[in-house]
Symmetry: C2
Subunit: 197 residues, 2 copies
Protein backbone atom coordinates (compact mmCIF):
# COMPACT_ATOMS: atom_id res chain seq x y z
CA UNK A 1 0.00 0.00 0.00
CA UNK A 2 1.27 3.47 -0.89
CA UNK A 3 0.05 6.84 0.34
CA UNK A 4 0.80 10.00 -1.63
CA UNK A 5 1.22 12.25 1.33
CA UNK A 6 2.22 15.60 2.82
CA UNK A 7 3.23 15.69 6.47
CA UNK A 8 1.59 19.06 7.21
CA UNK A 9 -1.70 18.34 5.40
CA UNK A 10 -4.54 17.64 7.83
CA UNK A 11 -6.33 15.76 5.06
CA UNK A 12 -3.34 13.45 4.56
CA UNK A 13 -2.83 13.08 8.33
CA UNK A 14 -6.46 11.88 8.63
CA UNK A 15 -5.50 8.90 6.41
CA UNK A 16 -2.20 8.24 8.22
CA UNK A 17 -4.17 8.19 11.48
CA UNK A 18 -6.74 5.74 10.08
CA UNK A 19 -4.03 3.44 8.71
CA UNK A 20 -2.34 3.40 12.09
CA UNK A 21 -5.58 2.77 14.01
CA UNK A 22 -6.24 -0.20 11.74
CA UNK A 23 -2.68 -1.47 12.16
CA UNK A 24 -1.95 -1.07 8.44
CA UNK A 25 1.39 -0.05 6.99
CA UNK A 26 1.74 2.10 3.89
CA UNK A 27 4.78 3.44 2.10
CA UNK A 28 4.58 7.24 2.33
CA UNK A 29 5.54 9.22 -0.78
CA UNK A 30 5.71 12.96 -0.15
CA UNK A 31 4.22 15.09 -2.93
CA UNK A 32 6.13 18.37 -3.05
CA UNK A 33 3.36 20.95 -3.27
CA UNK A 34 5.79 23.88 -3.03
CA UNK A 35 7.38 22.68 -6.28
CA UNK A 36 3.98 22.07 -7.88
CA UNK A 37 4.40 18.31 -8.09
CA UNK A 38 0.60 17.93 -7.62
CA UNK A 39 0.09 19.63 -10.99
CA UNK A 40 2.45 17.31 -12.87
CA UNK A 41 0.98 14.89 -15.37
CA UNK A 42 1.94 11.71 -13.50
CA UNK A 43 0.16 12.92 -10.39
CA UNK A 44 -2.94 14.23 -12.18
CA UNK A 45 -3.33 10.73 -13.64
CA UNK A 46 -3.66 9.45 -10.08
CA UNK A 47 -5.86 12.33 -8.91
CA UNK A 48 -7.42 14.74 -11.41
CA UNK A 49 -8.01 17.23 -8.59
CA UNK A 50 -4.27 17.55 -7.98
CA UNK A 51 -4.44 17.08 -4.20
CA UNK A 52 -3.02 14.85 -1.51
CA UNK A 53 -3.86 12.34 -0.14
CA UNK A 54 -4.13 9.57 -2.72
CA UNK A 55 -4.04 5.89 -1.73
CA UNK A 56 -2.78 3.15 -4.01
CA UNK A 57 -3.80 -0.19 -2.53
CA UNK A 58 -2.22 -2.76 -4.82
CA UNK A 59 -3.44 -0.94 -7.93
CA UNK A 60 -6.75 0.31 -6.52
CA UNK A 61 -6.27 4.08 -6.57
CA UNK A 62 -8.54 6.22 -4.37
CA UNK A 63 -8.32 10.01 -4.12
CA UNK A 64 -9.87 12.23 -1.46
CA UNK A 65 -9.51 11.64 2.26
CA UNK A 66 -13.26 11.08 2.79
CA UNK A 67 -13.31 8.36 0.14
CA UNK A 68 -10.10 6.82 1.49
CA UNK A 69 -11.47 6.70 5.07
CA UNK A 70 -14.61 4.97 3.81
CA UNK A 71 -12.52 2.56 1.72
CA UNK A 72 -10.15 1.60 4.54
CA UNK A 73 -12.98 1.25 7.05
CA UNK A 74 -15.06 -0.95 4.78
CA UNK A 75 -12.19 -3.07 3.48
CA UNK A 76 -10.01 -3.47 6.59
CA UNK A 77 -12.09 -2.26 9.54
CA UNK A 78 -15.59 -3.62 9.24
CA UNK A 79 -18.81 -2.58 10.96
CA UNK A 80 -17.10 -1.11 13.97
CA UNK A 81 -15.74 1.83 11.98
CA UNK A 82 -18.39 2.21 9.29
CA UNK A 83 -21.74 0.46 9.66
CA UNK A 84 -23.72 -0.87 6.70
CA UNK A 85 -27.25 -0.29 7.97
CA UNK A 86 -28.93 2.86 6.58
CA UNK A 87 -29.61 4.81 9.77
CA UNK A 88 -26.25 4.10 11.41
CA UNK A 89 -24.39 4.76 8.16
CA UNK A 90 -26.18 8.10 7.82
CA UNK A 91 -25.28 9.06 11.38
CA UNK A 92 -21.58 8.60 10.56
CA UNK A 93 -22.03 10.46 7.27
CA UNK A 94 -23.57 13.49 9.00
CA UNK A 95 -20.32 14.13 10.84
CA UNK A 96 -18.19 13.43 7.79
CA UNK A 97 -20.26 16.11 6.05
CA UNK A 98 -19.49 18.51 8.90
CA UNK A 99 -15.83 17.57 8.40
CA UNK A 100 -16.04 18.63 4.74
CA UNK A 101 -17.75 21.91 5.61
CA UNK A 102 -17.21 23.59 9.00
CA UNK A 103 -13.94 21.87 9.85
CA UNK A 104 -12.32 21.99 6.37
CA UNK A 105 -13.59 25.37 5.09
CA UNK A 106 -13.67 26.86 8.61
CA UNK A 107 -10.93 25.55 10.90
CA UNK A 108 -8.75 24.14 8.13
CA UNK A 109 -8.99 27.21 5.93
CA UNK A 110 -8.18 29.59 8.80
CA UNK A 111 -5.07 27.48 9.38
CA UNK A 112 -3.83 27.55 5.77
CA UNK A 113 -4.47 31.30 5.53
CA UNK A 114 -2.33 31.95 8.62
CA UNK A 115 0.25 29.17 8.29
CA UNK A 116 0.76 28.94 4.53
CA UNK A 117 -0.41 32.45 3.51
CA UNK A 118 -3.09 31.06 1.19
CA UNK A 119 -5.70 33.59 0.01
CA UNK A 120 -9.13 33.88 1.61
CA UNK A 121 -10.98 35.70 4.39
CA UNK A 122 -9.60 34.73 7.80
CA UNK A 123 -12.63 36.15 9.59
CA UNK A 124 -15.11 34.23 7.41
CA UNK A 125 -13.17 30.98 7.94
CA UNK A 126 -12.91 31.50 11.71
CA UNK A 127 -16.64 32.25 11.97
CA UNK A 128 -17.51 29.06 10.10
CA UNK A 129 -14.99 27.09 12.15
CA UNK A 130 -16.45 28.32 15.45
CA UNK A 131 -19.95 27.47 14.23
CA UNK A 132 -18.70 23.91 13.68
CA UNK A 133 -17.09 23.81 17.12
CA UNK A 134 -20.40 24.87 18.69
CA UNK A 135 -22.15 21.94 17.01
CA UNK A 136 -19.40 19.53 18.08
CA UNK A 137 -19.47 20.90 21.65
CA UNK A 138 -23.25 20.42 21.91
CA UNK A 139 -22.96 16.81 20.75
CA UNK A 140 -19.90 15.94 22.83
CA UNK A 141 -21.30 17.49 26.01
CA UNK A 142 -23.62 14.47 26.18
CA UNK A 143 -21.69 11.80 24.28
CA UNK A 144 -18.15 10.46 24.21
CA UNK A 145 -18.10 10.10 20.43
CA UNK A 146 -19.67 11.85 17.47
CA UNK A 147 -21.72 8.98 16.05
CA UNK A 148 -23.21 5.79 17.46
CA UNK A 149 -21.59 6.19 20.89
CA UNK A 150 -18.42 4.55 19.66
CA UNK A 151 -15.15 5.62 18.02
CA UNK A 152 -15.79 5.60 14.23
CA UNK A 153 -14.44 7.29 11.12
CA UNK A 154 -16.69 10.23 12.04
CA UNK A 155 -14.23 11.01 14.86
CA UNK A 156 -11.15 10.19 12.78
CA UNK A 157 -12.46 12.48 10.04
CA UNK A 158 -13.21 15.51 12.23
CA UNK A 159 -10.19 15.17 14.52
CA UNK A 160 -7.30 16.71 12.52
CA UNK A 161 -8.58 20.26 11.90
CA UNK A 162 -10.20 20.45 15.34
CA UNK A 163 -6.95 19.44 17.01
CA UNK A 164 -5.08 21.95 14.77
CA UNK A 165 -7.57 24.78 15.41
CA UNK A 166 -5.08 26.93 17.32
CA UNK A 167 -2.93 27.14 14.16
CA UNK A 168 -5.86 29.08 12.66
CA UNK A 169 -5.89 31.31 15.76
CA UNK A 170 -9.03 29.62 17.12
CA UNK A 171 -8.81 28.73 20.79
CA UNK A 172 -10.47 25.55 22.06
CA UNK A 173 -10.81 27.10 25.54
CA UNK A 174 -14.57 27.78 25.14
CA UNK A 175 -15.16 24.13 24.13
CA UNK A 176 -14.41 21.88 27.14
CA UNK A 177 -16.24 18.82 25.78
CA UNK A 178 -14.36 19.14 22.49
CA UNK A 179 -11.05 19.31 24.39
CA UNK A 180 -11.92 16.17 26.33
CA UNK A 181 -12.83 14.43 23.07
CA UNK A 182 -9.47 15.44 21.57
CA UNK A 183 -7.76 13.84 24.57
CA UNK A 184 -9.96 10.76 24.22
CA UNK A 185 -8.96 10.31 20.57
CA UNK A 186 -5.29 10.69 21.53
CA UNK A 187 -5.65 7.79 23.99
CA UNK A 188 -6.95 5.32 21.42
CA UNK A 189 -4.69 2.34 20.63
CA UNK A 190 -2.74 3.04 17.47
CA UNK A 191 -3.06 6.84 17.69
CA UNK A 192 -0.36 8.76 15.83
CA UNK A 193 0.14 12.51 15.89
CA UNK A 194 1.37 15.17 13.44
CA UNK A 195 3.25 18.46 13.87
CA UNK A 196 0.96 21.02 15.55
CA UNK A 197 -1.08 18.46 17.52
CA UNK B 1 -41.74 11.01 5.51
CA UNK B 2 -41.21 14.73 5.94
CA UNK B 3 -38.56 16.94 4.35
CA UNK B 4 -37.66 20.28 5.89
CA UNK B 5 -37.04 22.08 2.69
CA UNK B 6 -36.37 25.30 0.80
CA UNK B 7 -37.31 25.44 -2.86
CA UNK B 8 -34.29 27.49 -3.95
CA UNK B 9 -31.69 25.51 -1.99
CA UNK B 10 -29.62 23.27 -4.22
CA UNK B 11 -28.84 21.09 -1.20
CA UNK B 12 -32.55 20.56 -0.52
CA UNK B 13 -33.27 20.04 -4.23
CA UNK B 14 -30.68 17.23 -4.25
CA UNK B 15 -32.87 15.37 -1.76
CA UNK B 16 -36.14 16.15 -3.57
CA UNK B 17 -34.53 14.76 -6.74
CA UNK B 18 -33.39 11.58 -4.99
CA UNK B 19 -36.83 11.04 -3.43
CA UNK B 20 -38.43 11.39 -6.83
CA UNK B 21 -35.94 9.08 -8.56
CA UNK B 22 -36.72 6.44 -5.93
CA UNK B 23 -40.47 6.99 -6.32
CA UNK B 24 -40.81 8.13 -2.69
CA UNK B 25 -43.21 10.79 -1.49
CA UNK B 26 -42.40 13.20 1.34
CA UNK B 27 -44.37 16.03 2.86
CA UNK B 28 -42.41 19.21 2.19
CA UNK B 29 -42.22 21.75 5.01
CA UNK B 30 -40.60 25.01 3.95
CA UNK B 31 -38.19 26.51 6.49
CA UNK B 32 -38.31 30.27 6.18
CA UNK B 33 -34.65 31.25 6.16
CA UNK B 34 -35.40 34.93 5.51
CA UNK B 35 -37.26 35.01 8.83
CA UNK B 36 -34.51 33.05 10.60
CA UNK B 37 -36.65 29.98 11.23
CA UNK B 38 -33.53 27.79 10.93
CA UNK B 39 -32.16 29.43 14.09
CA UNK B 40 -35.30 28.75 16.16
CA UNK B 41 -35.08 26.24 18.97
CA UNK B 42 -37.50 23.73 17.47
CA UNK B 43 -35.45 23.54 14.29
CA UNK B 44 -32.05 23.42 16.01
CA UNK B 45 -33.31 20.37 17.88
CA UNK B 46 -33.76 18.67 14.50
CA UNK B 47 -30.48 19.99 13.07
CA UNK B 48 -27.89 21.64 15.32
CA UNK B 49 -26.26 23.19 12.22
CA UNK B 50 -29.43 25.17 11.47
CA UNK B 51 -29.60 24.24 7.79
CA UNK B 52 -31.97 22.65 5.33
CA UNK B 53 -32.49 19.91 4.29
CA UNK B 54 -33.50 17.68 7.20
CA UNK B 55 -35.35 14.39 6.65
CA UNK B 56 -37.70 12.89 9.19
CA UNK B 57 -38.44 9.31 8.15
CA UNK B 58 -40.99 8.10 10.68
CA UNK B 59 -38.96 9.47 13.60
CA UNK B 60 -35.49 8.82 12.14
CA UNK B 61 -34.11 12.33 11.71
CA UNK B 62 -31.16 12.85 9.36
CA UNK B 63 -29.55 16.22 8.67
CA UNK B 64 -27.21 17.11 5.80
CA UNK B 65 -27.92 16.31 2.16
CA UNK B 66 -24.91 13.99 1.81
CA UNK B 67 -26.08 11.91 4.78
CA UNK B 68 -29.68 11.93 3.51
CA UNK B 69 -28.63 10.76 0.02
CA UNK B 70 -26.67 7.91 1.56
CA UNK B 71 -29.58 7.05 3.86
CA UNK B 72 -32.20 7.01 1.12
CA UNK B 73 -29.98 5.06 -1.26
CA UNK B 74 -29.12 2.41 1.32
CA UNK B 75 -32.62 2.09 2.77
CA UNK B 76 -34.80 2.41 -0.32
CA UNK B 77 -32.49 2.13 -3.33
CA UNK B 78 -30.05 -0.69 -2.79
CA UNK B 79 -26.79 -1.52 -4.51
CA UNK B 80 -27.70 0.21 -7.73
CA UNK B 81 -27.40 3.65 -6.15
CA UNK B 82 -24.81 3.03 -3.45
CA UNK B 83 -22.73 -0.13 -3.50
CA UNK B 84 -21.52 -1.87 -0.34
CA UNK B 85 -18.19 -3.19 -1.56
CA UNK B 86 -15.19 -1.09 -0.48
CA UNK B 87 -13.75 -0.09 -3.86
CA UNK B 88 -17.09 0.69 -5.51
CA UNK B 89 -18.31 2.54 -2.43
CA UNK B 90 -15.13 4.64 -2.43
CA UNK B 91 -15.58 5.47 -6.12
CA UNK B 92 -19.02 6.93 -5.36
CA UNK B 93 -17.64 8.74 -2.29
CA UNK B 94 -14.89 10.44 -4.32
CA UNK B 95 -17.49 12.33 -6.32
CA UNK B 96 -19.61 13.09 -3.28
CA UNK B 97 -16.47 14.66 -1.80
CA UNK B 98 -16.10 16.78 -4.94
CA UNK B 99 -19.74 17.75 -4.46
CA UNK B 100 -18.94 19.01 -0.93
CA UNK B 101 -15.92 20.94 -2.14
CA UNK B 102 -15.67 22.26 -5.70
CA UNK B 103 -19.38 22.24 -6.45
CA UNK B 104 -20.65 23.53 -3.06
CA UNK B 105 -17.88 26.01 -2.15
CA UNK B 106 -17.22 26.85 -5.80
CA UNK B 107 -20.31 26.75 -8.02
CA UNK B 108 -22.83 26.88 -5.17
CA UNK B 109 -21.07 29.69 -3.34
CA UNK B 110 -20.74 31.84 -6.49
CA UNK B 111 -24.50 31.41 -6.91
CA UNK B 112 -25.46 32.48 -3.37
CA UNK B 113 -23.09 35.47 -3.56
CA UNK B 114 -24.76 36.69 -6.77
CA UNK B 115 -28.35 35.53 -6.20
CA UNK B 116 -28.79 36.02 -2.44
CA UNK B 117 -26.05 38.65 -1.80
CA UNK B 118 -24.30 36.43 0.74
CA UNK B 119 -20.77 37.51 1.71
CA UNK B 120 -17.66 35.97 0.15
CA UNK B 121 -15.25 36.33 -2.75
CA UNK B 122 -17.02 35.74 -6.06
CA UNK B 123 -13.72 35.32 -7.91
CA UNK B 124 -12.41 32.74 -5.44
CA UNK B 125 -15.67 30.76 -5.65
CA UNK B 126 -15.77 30.89 -9.45
CA UNK B 127 -12.14 29.74 -9.68
CA UNK B 128 -12.83 26.76 -7.42
CA UNK B 129 -16.04 26.00 -9.31
CA UNK B 130 -14.27 25.99 -12.68
CA UNK B 131 -11.58 23.74 -11.26
CA UNK B 132 -14.34 21.29 -10.34
CA UNK B 133 -15.91 21.56 -13.80
CA UNK B 134 -12.54 20.72 -15.37
CA UNK B 135 -12.35 17.53 -13.30
CA UNK B 136 -15.95 16.61 -14.18
CA UNK B 137 -15.33 17.35 -17.88
CA UNK B 138 -12.26 15.10 -17.95
CA UNK B 139 -14.20 12.24 -16.39
CA UNK B 140 -17.36 12.70 -18.44
CA UNK B 141 -15.48 13.00 -21.74
CA UNK B 142 -14.90 9.25 -21.50
CA UNK B 143 -17.81 8.05 -19.35
CA UNK B 144 -21.57 8.59 -19.23
CA UNK B 145 -21.66 8.74 -15.41
CA UNK B 146 -19.34 9.88 -12.65
CA UNK B 147 -18.89 6.57 -10.86
CA UNK B 148 -19.11 2.89 -11.82
CA UNK B 149 -20.46 3.61 -15.30
CA UNK B 150 -24.00 3.84 -14.00
CA UNK B 151 -26.32 6.52 -12.58
CA UNK B 152 -25.64 6.66 -8.82
CA UNK B 153 -25.93 9.13 -5.96
CA UNK B 154 -22.58 10.52 -7.15
CA UNK B 155 -24.46 12.03 -10.12
CA UNK B 156 -27.49 13.04 -8.05
CA UNK B 157 -25.18 14.75 -5.58
CA UNK B 158 -23.13 16.75 -8.07
CA UNK B 159 -26.00 17.64 -10.40
CA UNK B 160 -27.74 20.59 -8.67
CA UNK B 161 -24.93 23.14 -8.45
CA UNK B 162 -23.51 22.13 -11.83
CA UNK B 163 -26.91 22.60 -13.48
CA UNK B 164 -27.29 25.94 -11.62
CA UNK B 165 -23.76 27.15 -12.49
CA UNK B 166 -24.98 29.98 -14.72
CA UNK B 167 -26.67 31.56 -11.67
CA UNK B 168 -23.13 32.03 -10.33
CA UNK B 169 -22.13 33.58 -13.67
CA UNK B 170 -20.22 30.48 -14.71
CA UNK B 171 -20.95 29.35 -18.26
CA UNK B 172 -21.03 25.65 -19.09
CA UNK B 173 -20.10 26.42 -22.72
CA UNK B 174 -16.48 25.27 -22.28
CA UNK B 175 -17.66 21.93 -20.86
CA UNK B 176 -19.49 19.97 -23.58
CA UNK B 177 -19.29 16.59 -21.82
CA UNK B 178 -20.69 18.15 -18.65
CA UNK B 179 -23.57 19.67 -20.65
CA UNK B 180 -24.36 16.27 -22.19
CA UNK B 181 -24.31 14.71 -18.71
CA UNK B 182 -26.72 17.39 -17.44
CA UNK B 183 -29.07 16.44 -20.29
CA UNK B 184 -28.61 12.76 -19.51
CA UNK B 185 -29.58 13.26 -15.86
CA UNK B 186 -32.65 15.23 -16.97
CA UNK B 187 -33.78 12.26 -19.05
CA UNK B 188 -33.76 9.78 -16.16
CA UNK B 189 -37.15 8.35 -15.11
CA UNK B 190 -38.43 10.27 -12.11
CA UNK B 191 -36.33 13.37 -12.76
CA UNK B 192 -37.73 16.58 -11.26
CA UNK B 193 -36.40 20.09 -11.76
CA UNK B 194 -36.14 23.27 -9.69
CA UNK B 195 -36.23 26.98 -10.56
CA UNK B 196 -33.06 27.92 -12.46
CA UNK B 197 -32.54 24.50 -14.05
Amino acid sequence: MKLYDLELSGNAYRVRLMLSLLGLKAELQTVNLMQGEQRQEWFLKLNPRGQVPVLDDDGTVIWDSLAILVYLARKYGGERWLPSEAKDLAEVMQWLALMENETLYGLGKARVILKFKLPGSLEEAQTLGRRGLNVLEARLAGHDWLALDRFTIADVGCFPYVALAQEGDISLDPYPAVRKWVDRVKQQPGFVSMPGI
